[in-house]
């Protein structure tokens, strides 16, 4: 199973890269993806996640070919 993992904003800077490609058999959820890219850490409380460009939860399921993204709280707009 292959999953593309993308990072944005301050998380991208902390990770030191914009993405990873995971090729694993033992990934079922978004939390599993995070553990695979962060040396086994739990997902930080503030971090948001998306699967295929839709908001997701740590327990959301991940399938072969999915794009999983992690990012800090959003700060768009103005005023």
């Amino acid at each position: 199973m292959t999953v593309r993992v993308r990072y944005f904003a301050s998380l991208r800077e902390k990770m030191g890269r914009i993405d990873d490609t995971l090729v694993y058999e033992n990934i079922a959820t978004v939390a599993d993806v995070w553990r695979a890219v962060s040396s086994g850490r739990p997902i930080p409380d503030q971090l948001l996640c998306a699967v295929n460009m839709e908001y997701a939860e740590p327990q959301s399921l991940v399938n072969d070919g999915d794009e999983v993204a992690f990012f800090p709280p959003v700060t768009g707009g103005s005023g």
């Binding site: 993308r6 904003a9 709280p73 959003v74 768009g76």
Partner: protein, 145 residues
């Protein structure tokens, strides 16, 4: 309904004019237009901000904005909606976001316009990185509005 992520400076007023021009006779149906324009300030958290970079998640941004507008269309009777959001390097005074809503009556226009900008701020994947005197910093939360 049109949602656009804009990589260069834009004039919200010129965009509105151009958008309404394309509507033709449709403009005869509107009773109300509510417009929100968000502009970059030169002061944030007490510090002078010289410029900032707005990062986004291409693809997810457009999808989120379209969902926000679709939800508003389901809740209010909206005749048309235009949303434009800047990304990239931005300087104080630049327009960041335009939300325009065309309706029959003013109530729905004001309410839907407010709803769309608030939802955008909370769910659309944009992030601001400011440059201040001491260096750069990520903006970590939204202002209260």
């Amino acid at each position: 309904m049109t949602v656009t992520v804009c990589h260069i400076p834009f004039s919200p007023y010129a965009e509105l004019e151009a958008y309404q021009q394309l509507m033709g006779d449709e403009v005869r149906r509107f009773g109300a237009t509510a417009i929100f324009v968000g502009t970059m300030r030169d002061l944030n958290l007490g510090d002078e901000v010289t410029h900032m970079v707005l990062e986004h998640y291409p693809g997810m941004t457009e999808r989120q904005l379209e969902q926000i507008v679709a939800e508003a269309q389901a809740r209010w009777d909206l005749l048309d909606v235009l949303v434009i959001h800047r990304v990239g390097e931005i300087t104080p005074g630049d327009s960041i976001v335009l939300v325009a809503v065309w309706t029959l009556h003013r109530g729905a226009a004001f309410e839907a316009c407010r709803h769309i900008i608030e939802e955008l701020k909370h769910t659309a994947p944009f992030w601001k990185k400011e440059t201040v005197r001491d260096g750069e910093r990520w903006v970590e939360s939204n202002t209260k509005g």
